[in-house]
């Protein structure tokens, strides 16, 4: 393979805190050199090496999205293709799909199904319990050998304290994290056995009272986290809380971290961009789990992102068909599209001066990868040339009709920036015309 040169591109590499306008040369799938540009006018183009003039563009290591619902295994390639157009070069999928990822052979099969070298690298969480029923431990060790990067019941909270304790001790032995969707199913009415079939639909608040929808109290989240932290302390496991949505949860995790426990957490864009008042016209695109919370909660999530309590941002992608969403709110399915907006909404935190670009990128690249011990691309010499290129200035409007997955809770939101190219091990995985036009042969 020949060289490719990306000229005068802003290289941001959170792994090394590098942020400089540089010339990047890629050869044989690896980064050959990253040279800081001293004088922008010098041209070092010789011979026929393809060269992209990337003035004004930014290069970042490929995104690792640690929370993707596939729905069905057969959707995998379609989702990979969409993800790569949005800068994602590896994804971790949840076990709640058809078939369930609760034994080693299914995980192995999923890996084999997704081995296309120019599509995002797929990793899987194994189900923590058989059939995701929260009762019997699944084959954590064997799934781990097949490459499972952690264990979780995905969208279902592991409720039983004894089961959780055993899972944690066992996972600690094999040095794997337990990932929890923290929501007490009794309090949120999601447990069939709870009082006459109440079923939580949104955050419990003045808004739920006005809408006549059944509320899920915010304490349903922190109650589970507090219990789990005790058990994590007892067992020494790495405990990770997925999609944190409440102020109380952020506070409790912040304190646990101060005590030196191995506790990490992530959140997703809806929880730092939106609040529950979005539901006022019963728009089912906002029916999420955990539910959108209050403005105070949203601000607390942003605070958690700023001070490092929240380690990572994941898309929480859970695409749903129009048929299951064009329903009365109570009957509509839960979940929304995420992979197409993960990067843009994380970038919004930079545009709003909440965090800097290095930190924003860290939250979707090395941080999530490190906590699951997944190899993360880094923009350094001799590393894999796995990165994406974006322009951070173009103003766009997110519109459902121009998206490939649905529903988006961000329909009509104005965002700044867009991904125009993704490279995996030096190969073009996605390229937008805008970048193509910058190619000088």
């Amino acid at each position: 393979m020949t060289h490719i040169i990306f000229k005068s591109i802003r290289v941001v590499n959170p792994d090394t805190n590098y942020d400089q306008i540089s010339d990047v040369t890629v050869k044989d799938g690896k980064i050959l050199s990253i040279i800081k540009v001293v004088n922008i006018n010098t041209t070092n183009k010789k011979d026929n090496t393809p060269l992209y003039d990337c003035t004004g563009l930014t290069m970042a290591p490929g995104i690792t999205d640690i929370r993707v619902n596939l729905g069905k295994s057969e959707n995998i390639e379609a989702i990979q293709k969409i993800a790569v157009q949005n800068g994602i070069t590896s994804m971790v999928v949840l076990p709640n799909q058809t078939p369930r990822l609760d034994n080693p052979s299914i995980i192995d099969h999923l890996h084999r199904q997704s081995e296309n070298p120019i599509l995002p690298f797929i990793k899987a969480y194994g189900a923590a319990t058989k059939d995701l029923d929260g009762l019997e431990m699944a084959e954590l060790g064997l799934m781990s050998e097949m490459g499972a990067v952690g264990f979780t019941n995905g969208n279902i909270s592991i409720k039983n304290s004894l089961v959780m304790r055993r899972l944690m001790s066992y996972a600690a032995m094999i040095n794997q994290p337990i990932i929890q969707h923290a929501e007490d199913p009794d309090l949120s009415g999601l447990n069939e056995a709870s009082t006459n079939s109440i079923k939580g639909e949104m955050n419990e608040s003045e808004t739920s009272t006005r809408l006549g929808l059944i509320g899920i109290p915010s304490c349903a989240e922190v109650i589970i986290i507090e219990r789990d932290i005790r058990l994590a302390e007892l067992t020494g496991v790495h405990y990770h809380v997925a999609h944190v949505s409440t102020k109380e949860a952020v506070d409790v995790i912040r304190n646990a971290k101060k005590r030196g426990l191995k506790i990490t957490c992530d959140t997703a864009p809806p929880y730092f961009c939106l609040n529950e008042t979005s539901l006022l016209n019963y728009n089912t695109a906002f029916k999420l789990s955990p539910p959108l919370r209050t403005e105070d909660d949203r601000l607390a999530i942003i605070e958690g992102i700023k001070d490092g309590t929240i380690d990572a941002i994941a898309s929480d992608h859970r695409s749903r068909s129009k048929d299951t969403k064009a329903q009365p709110f109570s009957a509509a399915s839960i979940g929304a599209s995420g992979i197409e907006t993960l990067f843009l909404l994380t970038l919004e935190l930079v545009h709003k001066n909440i965090i800097d670009l290095n930190k924003a990128l860290a939250m979707i690249t090395i941080n999530p990868a490190k906590l699951l011990k997944i190899e993360a691309p880094s923009l350094k010499e001799k590393e894999d040339a796995t990165f994406f290129i974006f322009d951070d200035r173009t103003i766009n409007t997110i519109t459902q009709e121009h998206m490939q997955t649905s529903p988006t809770p961000f329909d009509g939101r104005s965002v700044k920036g867009r991904v125009i190219g993704t490279f995996i091990k030096g190969r073009v995985a996605y390229i937008h015309d805008e970048l193509n036009q910058k190619l000088i042969k």
Binding site: E204, S205, T209, L211, L213, Y282, Q327, P328
Partner: protein, 327 residues
């Protein structure tokens, strides 16, 4: 063919009401003047002799689509439609299409193809009527959606109070019962606060929704305190399954603390009236003798006013639509 509304009521010092929305989905968000005009118009209908000609909507098609069982509301809407001269068709969806697996939107588009002028919908899910409003061309009247609202019930309650007491503003109105699960309570809270009444809600904490005070009401767990000096005591139905250990310990315990009896009523204004949207659980929400006390109980008047209110509402929606088209 454009259908023109005739205004041929005898004794007509009242006219059809122009609303700001082509639908009646909720009381929340309605203007005080709109509500007042609807009440005035319904008052006019209530005063008419049953044989007076009110058939201004002949040729109109009204669909009564009920996804939940109902007798009184459905019949009340049906009677109102007929008194306006419209054709009315009752569809009970609980036992037809839904069971065949048809989606709500498919049901809606089938109904839309019949080109109704008004669709009256009751649905077990909060917000379902607004979904119909998004997908259908006709006017929608919410006849009760989940725990959200039941606007015509609140209107008929207001009319009942106004006809008895003469006004709404400044009245002390206590609503007692299963507030959390009641659409009647929500509509009444919105309507009565808009009209300037002082609304108090009385319920055990397990049946009191989160942050209810933010809707402009006072909340009480002690019925004696909540009922003090009340001009109106409005009781709500408590479903049997909620009384036996889930939300409250037992029927008798509920009646002791939250049932209306002579002793608790004596704390209210001495002329206080009693209301209940029905169906009642005698001996649970209300002592049987009080329910039958024709001096104080307005329960039967409420049913009667229901027809007048629904006539005014259906007429107003058609009038509004007609005016919007002409514009």
């Amino acid at each position: 063919m454009t259908k023109i509304l005739k205004n041929n009521y005898n004794n007509s010092n009242s006219s059809p009401v122009q609303l700001s929305s082509p639908h009646l989905l909720a009381i929340e968000g309605m203007a005080k003047l709109e509500i007042k005009r609807l009440l005035d118009r319904a008052d006019y209908f209530a005063n008419l002799d049953r044989h007076d000609d009110t058939k201004n909507l002949s040729g109109y098609v009204i669909l009564n689509v009920f996804f939940e069982n109902s007798t009184r509301t459905r019949v009340s809407f049906e009677l109102a439609s007929r008194r306006l001269g419209a054709e009315v068709i009752n569809i009970s969806v609980t036992n037809s299409s839904i069971k065949k697996g048809e989606s709500l939107l498919d049901t809606a588009s089938t109904l839309n193809a019949m080109k109704p002028d008004v669709l009256i919908v009751r649905h077990p899910h909060s917000g379902a009527p607004s979904l119909f409003a998004d997908y259908l061309d006709c006017s929608i009247i919410n006849a009760g959606d989940g725990r959200h609202e039941h606007p015509t019930q609140a209107l008929l309650d207001a009319l009942t109070i106004r006809r008895r007491i003469g006004y709404l503003e400044g009245l002390k109105i206590s609503i007692c019962g299963d507030i959390a699960n009641s659409r009647v309570a929500r509509s009444n809270i919105h309507l009565l606060t808009i009209m300037g009444a002082e609304v108090r809600c009385i319920a055990p904490p397990t049946l009191m929704p989160n942050n209810l005070e933010k809707l402009g009401v006072k909340c009480y767990f002690d019925m004696r305190e909540g009922i003090k000096d009340a001009d109106v005591v409005m009781l709500l139905r408590l479903q049997n399954e909620r009384m036996s250990g889930t939300e409250t310990p037992s029927q008798r315990e509920y009646f002791k603390y939250f049932g209306l009896d002579e002793e608790k009523l004596s704390l209210a204004n001495k002329n206080a009236v009693i209301m209940h949207p029905g169906p009642m659980n005698r001996g649970v929400e209300i002592a049987s003798a009080l329910a039958d006390d024709s001096e104080r109980s307005l329960i039967k008047t409420q049913v009667e006013m229901g027809v007048a209110i629904r006539m005014a509402t259906i007429e107003a929606l058609n009038f509004t639509k007609q005016n919007n088209i002409e514009k």
